[in-house]
Amino acid sequence: MECDDRPLVPVAATIEKRPGAPAQKLVGAAVALLAAAFVLYPVYYLFQAAFDVGDPNVRPPEAYGLDNFALLPNYSEIMLNTLGVAVAATVMALVFGFVIAWILTRTNVPMRAALEQLMAVPYYVTPLLGALAWALLGSPESGFINQLWRAAGAKEALFDVTGPIGIAWVMALFEGSVAFVMISAVMKSMDPSLEEASQVIGASRLRTMIRITLPLVAPGVLGAAIYVFAEMLGSFSAALVLGSPNRFYVITTAIYQLVSQYPPRLPLAAAMGVSLFAVMFAMIFLYRRITAGRSYVTVSGKAFRPRVMDVGTLRWVLFAVCAVYLIMSVFLPMATLLFASVQRLATVFPKPSNLTLEHYTTALSLNAVRSAMGNSLLLGFLTATIGIVLTGLLAWIIQRSRLPGRNVLEYIVMFPQAVPRLVFAFGMMWAWLVFPLPVYGTLWILLIAYLTVFLPLGVRTISGVLVQLDKSLEECGEVCGASWFYRMRTITMPLLRPGLIAAWLLIFVASVRELGASILLMGPNSKVLTPAIVEAFFSSSSELTAAMALIQTVVVGAVMLVFLTVSRRAARHGA
């Protein structure tokens, strides 16, 4: 070994007085404060508005009280609607999720791997597209399915997708894929030897299923149920598209109605928002309690190869079950939108003369659409890029740093998950109206809103990769003498690359398709695409809407493809 007479590190006396690494602390504190301000500032104003009982045009409020909440019982019908839709949708979504998770993890269904990949697609189709498509398929008069039904000789409509059950159905189709991911994770993490032990002792398959399997997966399924229910309570787009035209309101669409009507009833809307927030917060809290405090050892962090049951020819039936779900949630909606978008007037039996591409040319030539598209892509790009830096640092601070208060930070960062985006946007609207910087009605407020509401998404995605990295990989760099920035650049960032790429894509897609926050916060000169699609649905034709929705889907898909190709190439060149 080479000898070296120089000291290996700077002389001790000059640095001994400096406690900790200042760069890390400075950056950490700045990021934490920024995130906390983004989250807490609007929440504060939401609460302020909810308790404001003075003249709503005077700010700050003249008087505080509970009057706004006292009005809520007048809207008990809306509460019941919300509850009914959410319960029905949760039950359906759980059935979809549980059945398909069981089929794909525990049986020898054909094309298992492909089906499992496809199960992520409904998430990308989004409830809004699903609702637009199902409106075309299942509205009582003109819905394609009901047209076919009548053509077959029936008098009545087969079903009505604009009613509560229809809305719940559409919501469940898309939340079903979330339930699937959660429940199949539980099933996959169950040690198969627990079941084998039961059978070796002499229990039958059925007995094993009832006494061992179900109790073991029950906490995981319950957790999924609560999570899905909370999501359903706060969901907005399906109820907006399907319900509001015939005056069927749930709490989120009612809030939107109260804010956007003239004159707006902001304090009442805020009180509704706060109530919804309180319920969702309790749900999420319960969910975290159930999943965190689980004493069952089913989730051991290890991935087991679950025992696969040979179900004989029944496997084709099970395959059909999965296929039907995917057709209902992905292929049928997309095909419907495509089918409708190339007709002058959408009908299930088009004449050749009815076929046209004019909706596409209209959509692409409309100035409003083009600027909205440009704005959406710009915002998506900025949100995703700034977002991965912000959430990457936050995830690192929460998981790895020794900074004080990082547990509190985690709660703050995960906060937006418990607030429907529409409600959050309401708080932001209220907050930024009085903020000295003129960001209200510009793209800036949308950027801030997106960055805030997608904090949990980014932090969760990156944390998921971060916790799998052996901590000593970073510690070793520390011991080798590398500074915090140097370690971040040479060790942490390269190792986190898959997580950062995934987070970028998720945030980008989520931003471009964001509806709940955008619809409240966009101004006349800062239109974005998804609310523009909804506007087109209400004020123009559903054919034009279908064309716009498909254009959005194609553009988002193209950007994802380009990003993935570029990042792969960059990885290959070691950049």
Partner: protein
């Protein structure tokens, strides 16, 4: 070669929340020597090591390396890990999977701003040292466990650190490789003359490699000393048991039979066992520790007067290099390990004997 500094830890206390994990403990590692922290899992040995590295923050106490203070609870000094100028081999090896072997080993040199030429030369030296020169261009994710271990070692040594920390570096290797690496590591340590702190739960590893061993239990030091001292003269029941299984013989001290360091203990069954006090104070009740290998068994009564008893074989178990014989002696059972292949039948009467020098008095609990 830069002179290796000594490490001095004084009244160190480490807590996790309200739970005291370590301390207060004090110890010193001599310059250029290896000090081993030995103990069962959860005894605080790794936590102590990580505190020296700066990866855990102690509550109070002082850590000094050479004449530099790394941590001082009172003065509020806590030097960041990267400025402590030491090096460490991790239990998981922590080989960076996104870099080549060369880049892994070069890391510490590049951090120190060495020129490309120097980096190349020093990495070459370090890889030679662990016989991995042929693997420089290999991606780190293509290495076997043993190879990763060597790369981790080369990386830790490449920038000529004067202090090396080892956190159970051999525990993930299979038994054969572990035996080889033990000797290699010891030689390397001698050749480089670095001061090392080594953490392990493996007795043989500790005995084979250390200049000094600290046996830890529940965050406290049970005994400190050179390997032979620890093995031959365990201080407490815990050390006697943990450092190679020992037979513990309890009884009443017979002051009338004692002469100087030689003592005698009468068991409840009435047998007189002669032993050595090793300078420790004798009290009314005493406990003697006898290593399983120090007992002898024979069909004939051996010559001599002291520490010879009649007993019976309870069961004998063939272990390969050794035969372990469980012997019923009065109302207790003792475990005897013998080299060779002499097999004993169950219930066979035998003469059990032991040299009084090997019956070591333990300190009272």
């Amino acid at each position: 070669m830069l002179a290796s500094p000594h490490i001095e830890v004084t009244d160190l206390v480490i807590r996790y929340g309200n739970i005291a994990a370590v301390g207060p403990i004090s110890f010193a590692a001599e310059a250029g020597k290896q000090l081993t922290l030995l103990g069962p899992s959860g005894c605080g040995k790794t936590t102590t090591l990580r505190a020296v590295a700066g990866l855990e923050q102690p509550v109070s106490g002082r850590i000094r390396i050479g004449d530099r203070t790394m941590f001082d609870g009172k003065a509020g000094i806590n030097m960041p890990t990267e400025q402590r100028g030491l090096s460490m081999v991790f239990q998981s090896y922590a080989i960076w999977p996104h870099m080549t072997v060369f880049d892994n080993v070069a890391y510490g040199l590049r951090v120190r701003g060495k020129s490309a030429g120097e980096v190349k030369e020093l990495v070459g030296h370090a890889l030679d040292l662990v016989q991995m020169s042929a693997y420089g261009g290999r991606s780190a994710s293509q290495l076997s466990g043993g190879q990763q271990q060597r790369v981790a070692l080369a990386r830790a040594c490449a920038f000529s650190p004067t202090v090396l920390l080892f956190d159970e570096p051999l525990s993930n290797l299979d038994a054969k490789l572990r035996g080889d690496m033990r000797i290699e590591l010891r030689e390397l340590q001698h050749r480089l003359g670095v001061t090392s702190l080594y953490v392990t739960h493996d007795l043989e590893e500790a005995l084979a490699m250390s200049d000094t061993i600290l046996v830890m239990k529940g965050g406290q030091i049970e005994q400190a000393g050179p390997p032979a001292e620890i093995y031959n003269f365990p201080r407490t029941e815990f050390v006697a048991d943990f450092v190679g299984s020992a037979n513990l013989i309890r009884g009443r001290v017979r002051g009338d039979l004692a002469t100087g360091d030689a003592i005698a203990v009468e068991t409840r069954g009435g047998q007189i066992v002669y032993g050595t006090a090793h300078g420790r104070a004798t009290a009314g009740e005493a406990c003697l520790s006898v290593r399983a290998v120090h007992f002898s068994l024979g069909r004939e009564r051996p010559a001599g007067e002291r520490n010879i008893w009649q007993a019976a074989v309870h069961r004998s178990v063939f272990l390969g290099d050794l035969t372990q014989v469980h012997v019923t002696w009065g109302d207790r059972e003792v475990v005897v390990r013998q080299s060779g292949m002499q097999l004993w039948e169950d219930a066979q009467p035998v003469w059990l004997s032991v040299d009084p020098r090997h019956c070591v008095l333990l300190e009272p609990n």
